[in-house]
């Protein structure tokens, strides 16, 4: 049941009407929790057992960590909790990957069932939610949830359950300390976000996905230039897909009276890879920083150790995305780039900064290099096999001959995408609120988005990319 499907629209509409009709706060919480379980169980009811188990043990451990009399015991509680959550993730997500690699290295025949373990949707996200809970409780950033119902709602809250944003306990649980309020302002803002997210998903990502899928499926068929276009198109697609999803999640949560954190802030305007990670999947970046990088020692032990910590964090972040060497390579590339970025800031940048010519061209050069790097790094992320990555890179850099295909919808989408970014960079915003009544502005916005969706959205939408993670 994806957000852009008819069953979800029906599900959410019924839920909203029900919540609106029932004014009792306790009843609303139960309805929201049951609806979240229904939403999750819609994929596969058996997955519910896992999410219930994670919810149960993490809730109990939260109480234990909070009540533990000594820091050592608290720490032990956190260690147990993190181990259990990561174990669940490892079993369901990485067993097949591990078995494949053991077979490849040692030539052992691994039992077939190890490859048959199905990855429950959203497990990467709700295990991170539980880890955030242990650590936040341990650090005293949030009080432990006394109510299992409220805690279960934090873990299973359906807008952010399957693909984020990664919401911390300290961001969500305090919102449950006050009654759930369905306000007109929340509804109006939420609808706007949901529609904007749907436009990003259906008009940006889904317009280019047939082109990208085809080129990545037949890397030897198309010309090098076409493959460059596909690489750029994938950069747009994954942004539109993931950013669109999280915007919709934030909007749906807003309609239901909850605030979720921002997850994307125009990442492709970044002029460095460090800036990129402050704009891309922000909740993951900050999660990795606060719960992994800092736990590894952060920047407390000198330059070299700091860079090693950054590198390890990014490689593990890559592996979190999927059980495949492709994702490890992607994390490795980004880790290397961030380390290089730090080295650059330390040495060549200050020297170059003395030259007026460099200062004049610094932003366009840095932006071009960053965008080029990010786009090329998406290739191993998207390609199913490593051979495909190498073949694509080889054909792109040799501008190999082949079928030339400049997919018209992709070119139009790219043009719109570029204009949107130029407008953002130049702070060009059509602000009519000073001269026209707020009602007309809102009506025009909503009508424009609905019109775009009805008239141009593809009739068959593809699943959200981040669902697989």
């Amino acid at each position: 049941m994806i957000f852009t499907s008819l069953p979800f629209v029906i599900f959410f509409s019924l839920l909203y009407v029900l919540l609106f009709a029932i004014r009792n706060d306790i009843a609303r919480r139960w309805i929201l929790l049951l609806a979240s379980f229904f939403f999750y169980g819609y994929w596969n009811p058996w997955y519910l057992l896992l999410i219930w188990a994670v919810t149960g043990w993490s809730w109990l451990l939260g109480l234990y960590i909070s009540a533990a009399p000594t820091p050592r015991r608290k720490k032990r509680g956190v260690a147990i909790g993190v181990t259990l959550s990561l174990l669940a993730l490892a079993i369901f997500k990485y067993t097949g990957f591990f078995a494949d690699n053991v077979s490849a290295v040692f030539g052992w025949r691994m039992p077939a069932f190890l490859h048959d373990i199905v990855l429950p949707v959203g497990i990467s996200f709700y295990t991170f939610h539980s880890i955030s809970y242990y650590v936040d409780v341990y650090r005293g950033q949030v009080a432990p949830a006394r109510s299992l119902r409220d805690y279960a709602l934090y873990i299973a809250f359906f807008p952010q359950l399957v693909a984020g944003p990664i919401v911390r306990a300290s961001q969500f649980l305090p919102q449950l300390l006050r009654p759930i309020a369905l306000t007109r302002a929340g509804f109006v803002a939420g609808i706007r976000l949901v529609l904007a997210g749907a436009v990003q998903k259906l008009l940006l990502a889904d317009q280019v996905s047939p082109f990208v899928d085809q080129v990545y499926a037949h890397p030897a068929l198309y010309s090098g230039a076409t493959e460059w276009l596909a690489a750029v198109a994938y950069a747009m697609q994954i942004f539109g897909d993931f950013s669109g999803y999280t915007l919709m999640a934030i909007g749906l949560a807003r309609i239901l009276g909850f605030e979720l954190p921002e997850n994307f802030r125009m990442p492709y305007i970044s002029a460095s890879i460090v800036e990129f990670w402050r704009r891309w999947h922000i909740t993951l970046s900050f999660f990795l920083r606060d719960y992994l990088y800092i736990s590894l020692g952060g920047n407390r032990s000198g330059f070299l150790r700091t860079q090693a910590n950054v590198f390890v964090t990014m490689v593990l972040g890559g592996l979190w995305h999927g059980a495949s060497w492709n994702f490890v390579v992607w994390g490795f590339l980004h880790g290397t780039a961030i380390v290089w970025n730090h080295v650059w800031k330390l040495w060549p940048a200050p020297i170059l900064g003395r030259f007026a010519l460099w200062r004049m061209f610094r932003w366009p050069v840095c932006w071009t290099l960053t965008f080029l790097f990010v786009t090329l790094a998406w290739i191993p992320f998207r390609a199913v096999h490593f051979d495909t990555t190498l073949l694509l890179l080889q054909r792109m850099f040799t501008l190999a001959d082949g079928v030339r295909w400049y997919h018209t919808p992709t070119l139009f989408t790219l043009a719109g995408f570029v204009l949107w970014h130029i407008a953002y960079l130049n702070n060009l915003r059509l602000n009519l609120r000073h001269c026209v009544d707020e009602y007309w502005v809102y009506a025009t916005e909503v009508a424009s988005l609905v019109t775009l969706l009805v008239m141009f959205a593809p009739l068959e939408t593809s699943p959200f990319i981040y669902f697989q993670f």
Binding site: P210, A220, L221, H407, T408, Y439, W440, A443, L459
Partner: protein, 356 residues
């Protein structure tokens, strides 16, 4: 009703009216024209005579198309033009709304063989039976000296699975009557009148037609309705793949008994890297069409070799467009050129002469 709510409703109504009017104008300017489809009892629908419209082609994007007095994608037929006429029948491959008219194979043949007048009798969604009905409709108006029928793999699917009902004459292979299949066009809906006036309705109705049909089909547990013989056949008799060739031969016989006939087969070739290509069904479709053509003494032309040669030489597939996907869908301008040149020998062999 409180005054505030009334005011808000009034504003909303006014806004919707203004918005729809603006969309109608924008749709007409940049996308499609109001529908020019008119219902036709035999063929489901035809295009309005002498109409010029903007259409949305699934693989070639938004295009302008004009239709002659017969509702065909062709130049006007002049009464004082006494050249022998060759009527070309087929589905959207022949209609060729994806390419400019001079670039489709009929336009090219017209230039290459100026002694003959080639008439484009193609229309989207036709199958061999409806092409025969199109011939019956056009024959008195066009008075063709020869017929070219272009068959592609989609014709087999259309013929066998689209719910057509055919009556065979008793004790004969001839088709006596044909009952229209459901036509997936807005001409079949109650929107037809509105669509003729509104570009927006036309555009949205065509976009939403398929998902709405699928949605309703899901509710009604839609069952496929394969083609069936009627009256002269045992009740419930249905076509299978094996019936394609004899049925095709039956249709060709109806035509070949009155006209010189050329059959062209255009298979769904897969175009692979390094100029290689492959025909997915191993050429069964072409063999079926060739046997049916041979059975009635019609000329036969297999387009596969010329299309494959073109791909080997240029590295660019002869079908597909930038809007959709190279190598799939309708023939592009290169494909039409190859088809036209491939057909020339067959046309010369007909020995058609200009009437004195």
């Amino acid at each position: 009703m409180p005054a505030r709510t009334g005011n808000r409703l009034l504003k909303t109504g006014l806004f919707i009216v203004m918005w729809v009017a603006a969309l109608e104008v924008l749709t007409r300017l940049f996308m499609v024209s109001p529908s020019n489809v008119v219902p036709d009892p035999a063929l489901g629908y035809m295009y309005a005579p002498n109409s010029t419209v903007r259409i949305e082609s699934a693989d070639a994007g938004f295009r302008r198309a004009s239709f002659n007095a017969l509702g065909l994608n062709d130049w006007p037929l002049r009464a004082d033009d006494h050249r022998p006429r060759v009527l070309v029948l087929g589905d959207s491959y022949v209609e060729a709304l994806q390419v400019d008219r001079p670039e489709n194979f009929i336009g090219i043949l017209g230039r290459e063989r100026p002694a003959l007048r080639f008439v484009n009798g193609g229309r989207s969604g036709l199958d061999p039976v409806t092409e025969y009905l199109m011939l019956r409709k056009l024959a008195p108006l066009v008075n063709p000296a020869a017929i070219i029928m272009v068959e592609n793999l989609g014709d087999r699917t259309d013929l066998l699975a689209d719910g057509i009902t055919i009556e065979r004459c008793r004790n004969s292979n001839e088709i006596c009557n044909y009952h229209s299949k459901p036509v997936p066009e807005i001409s079949r809906t109650g929107l037809v009148g509105l669509a003729r006036e509104s570009a927006l309705v036309t555009f949205v109705a065509r976009r939403l037609e398929e998902p709405v049909r699928q949605f309703l089909a899901g509710i009604r547990q839609w069952r496929s309705r394969p083609a069936v013989f009627a009256e002269s056949s045992p009740p419930g008799e249905r076509y299978t793949d094996g019936d394609f060739e004899p049925l095709l031969a039956c249709i060709f016989r109806n035509i070949a008994s009155h006209y010189k006939l050329i059959i062209a087969a255009v298979p769904d070739t897969d175009f692979e890297p390094a100029g290689k290509s492959e025909i997915p069904d191993g050429g069964k479709f072409q063999r079926d069409v060739e046997r049916a053509a041979n059975a009635v003494g019609a000329g036969y032309f297999d387009a596969a070799p010329v299309l494959e040669t073109l791909y080997r030489q240029t590295g660019q597939p002869p079908r597909g467009f930038a809007f959709s996907q190279p190598g799939h869908g309708h023939l592009n301008a290169d494909g039409h050129a190859a088809l036209a040149h491939g057909l020339e020998n067959q046309i010369d062999a007909l020995g058609l002469k200009v009437a004195r």
